[in-house]
């Protein structure tokens, strides 16, 4: 298959003066000063090469600051490579973010035409598709209002409705899914499926590994300005997740887990493990009463790497009441639950509350647990699903034996 995008030995350096010289005075003092002003060269990309084939859904992943947005801007032609070359075949949709060129002072209607022009549509073409765009965005009643009076959700809907009209062979998509509610995300994924069906070439930058796994054919992993791996989505996505784990080990020492409370009771040990060959999760905690505590309530919750709390409970919900604790008394608790979590790294928060509302010890990120499973799905939960499959006999006329 022909190449839609060829990236060859691309380097991108940004020269960052220590003090930016952009006034004449500074230029002169720079000339006459005995020492030259210092500057550093930041290598945003180093020796990156890959090809995106026609009709391919190509992913770019990497941590923040790895250079993936710079790479996308080079593909779009916004930045020029310091050396090397980027060649594209076919019409490239020129935007990389939603709602580019939106002007808050203009009405929704005017913004549609302006954004349409940026996408390369003539006025006549825009007139023809105007109603569809408005309908798809579900904003019929708001077209004569200024954009600044729109909610951010409305703006995104309008931008997305416009973006899906873009007629191009190659589309560059940057983190669209980070914005919008569940309903909007569903629309996004529907659009992606359409693109895939229509064999469009798509370059997709995302942190969302489940989306990467589901849609991308191949993925490049950018790490510290270099393309460290290119390959099938599954392989690169797990490589990326592992990269995160490793770096988190390193940063763990620096990362202060947040902890607050009056200290009348404290957790002394929190440990989260996967037990029973991966079927269950066990959270074991030890706590110590430092004074007399009335009706202590022990709780926990589990958050994913994105910070979303997924599950949790406490001893009051479980109707396991302790009337009171005296100073020096210790408590050992074990929470056990089926391991329904998908692959990834999770953190455990624990809390100790007494007298109904008084917070003794609230400890975020008290322990961490890593989940690895044989079967992988792109969803946040991955419980053990059993399947029974029955196939009825084929109709006689359809038989070929």
């Amino acid at each position: 298959m022909a190449a839609a995008i060829t990236v060859e030995k691309v380097y991108k350096n940004f020269v960052l003066p220590h003090e930016k010289k952009n006034s004449i005075k500074q230029m002169f003092t720079g000339v006459f000063a005995p020492k030259r002003q210092g500057y550093e060269v930041q290598h945003a990309l180093r020796d990156v090469s890959f090809t995106v084939k026609e009709g391919e859904f190509f992913g770019i992943v990497g941590r923040n600051g790895s250079g993936k947005s710079t790479l996308l801007k080079m593909l779009a032609g916004i930045y020029q490579p310091s050396s090397g070359s980027v060649t594209t075949h076919g019409k490239l949709v020129p935007f990389i973010e939603l709602g580019v060129g939106f002007n808050p002072e203009l009405t929704g209607r005017d913004n549609i035409f302006l954004n349409g022009a940026l996408l390369g549509f003539t006025k006549a073409q825009m007139n023809a598709m105007y109603d569809d765009i408005v309908k798809f965005a579900e904003l019929e009643r708001f077209m004569d209002q200024k954009l600044k009076n729109y909610s951010s959700g409305m703006q995104v809907r309008l931008a997305f409705s416009l973006a899906t009209r873009a007629e191009a062979d190659i589309l560059l998509v940057d983190e669209v899914l980070a914005v919008g509610d569940a309903d909007f995300q569903r629309k996004c994924f529907e659009y992606f499926r359409t693109l895939k069906r229509n064999k469009k070439t798509v370059v997709f930058v995302s942190h969302d590994m489940s989306a990467i796994r589901e849609y991308c054919d191949r993925v490049v992993l950018i790490e510290k300005s270099e393309a460290v791996a290119i390959g099938k989505a599954d392989k690169i996505a797990s490589l990326y997740s592992r990269l995160f784990l490793e770096s988190e080990e390193v940063t763990k020492a620096d990362a202060q887990s947040t902890r607050w409370g009056d200290g009348n009771g404290t957790y002394t040990k929190v440990k989260a493990t996967v037990v029973d060959e991966g079927r269950n999760l066990l959270i074991a905690v030890d706590a110590l009463a430092n004074t007399h505590l009335e009706e202590p309530n022990f709780g926990f919750s589990i958050r994913n790497s994105g910070g979303t709390a997924l599950l949790g409970t406490n001893t009051h919900i479980k109707r396991q009441f302790v009337k009171q604790l005296e100073k020096g008394q210790r408590v050992h608790l074990e929470w056990k639950m089926p391991n329904v979590l998908a692959d990834g790294r999770y953190s455990v928060d624990v809390a100790l509350v007494y007298n109904g509302v008084v917070n003794a010890d609230w400890w975020e990120d008290a322990a961490r647990v890593e989940i690895r499973k044989e079967e992988q799905t792109p969803y946040p939960v991955n419980p053990d699903v059993t399947v029974s499959l029955d196939v009825t006999d084929a109709l006689k006329k359809g038989r070929h034996d």
């Binding site: 006034s23 916004i78 930045y79 990389i96 002007n103 005017d110 349409g116 003539t122 006025k123």
Partner: protein, 273 residues
């Protein structure tokens, strides 16, 4: 590359520029007059009001003992041309930086930004010219065949102003003093250009220097063809019509430099803004 492929590519490229240009000019107009009570009417009312002031100050208050006939129209033409020149260049300075948000997110032909700004000013100029023509009828200025030169003079003005806009806009990306420098230059140039005074009142030597500036040459050529042949032009001051080629060369030279510099720098606007 095959010729048909090339021509297709060229057409595709410029179609996009044209679509963008159109939309940017319209947007500019909408933004300028939105939420004002009289709206678009202002593009007509503004020059009218300015004329009224000039007329009161220079014709009624400072007397009418000028050697020139139709001194009001004579004044107006100078002011109109200068206003256009200053509108285009002043807008040009900040035009690229002002569109920084857009430049960082989308790749499009950058010259469209400057062109759009200059076209908006051109629309204003056209409206103003219509007002001036009305005023000329009111002032009983006669019509001459020499008026056919006027479009050429306006083309020279357009090229000069837009060249400076390209140059200043691109320079401002790297050097943020340009707007202050240009403000000062324009203030000085306003008095160095015979707009509100009669060049005939100047010493001969000074006349010869003043008239070498392209804007002075244009204003006086326009006054000559449109108002009165008593106007001093670069030809009459030097006694040689060919000296006119000097300011014209400045314009052409500047145009070449501006195109060269803008093309060279525009690739890097997105990362330098």
């Amino acid at each position: 590359m095959k010729f048909s492929e090339l021509s297709h590519k060229l057409r595709a490229r410029y179609t996009y520029s044209l679509i963008l240009l159109r939309e940017l000019v319209i947007t500019d107009f909408k933004l300028r007059y939105q939420s004002s009570f009289l709206g678009y009417l202002w593009s007509l009312l503004r020059p009218l009001a300015i004329f009224a002031i000039l007329y009161v100050v220079f014709v009624l208050a400072l007397g009418t003992n000028s050697r020139l006939p139709h001194v009001a129209t004579y004044l107006l033409l100078g002011v109109v041309m200068w206003n256009y020149f200053s509108e285009v260049t002043n807008n040009g300075v900040g035009a690229i930086v002002g569109k920084g948000d857009l430049l960082r997110k989308i790749n499009f032909p950058k010259y469209v930004i400057i062109l759009a700004g200059s076209l908006s000013a051109l629309i204003n100029l056209t409206i103003t010219i219509l007002v001036v023509i009305g005023f000329m009828v009111f002032d009983h200025v006669g019509w001459h065949l020499s008026l056919l030169w006027a479009p050429l003079i306006f083309i020279e003005l357009f090229v000069f102003a837009i060249s400076l806009a390209f140059l200043l806009g691109a320079l401002f990306v790297r050097l943020r003093d340009v707007n202050y420098i240009w403000e000062v230059i324009m203030q000085g140039a306003f008095y160095a250009t015979p707009i509100i005074y009669d060049i005939a009142d100047m010493p001969d030597k000074l006349q010869k220097i003043i008239i070498l500036s392209p804007v002075a040459q244009m204003i006086h050529d326009l006054r000559y063809v449109a108002v009165t042949d008593k106007t001093y032009t670069i030809g009459t001051i030097y006694g040689n019509e060919w000296v006119r080629l000097f300011p014209i060369s400045i314009v052409l030279f500047l145009a070449v430099v501006a195109v060269w510099y803008f093309r060279k720098r525009s690739r890097y606007f997105a990362e330098e803004i």
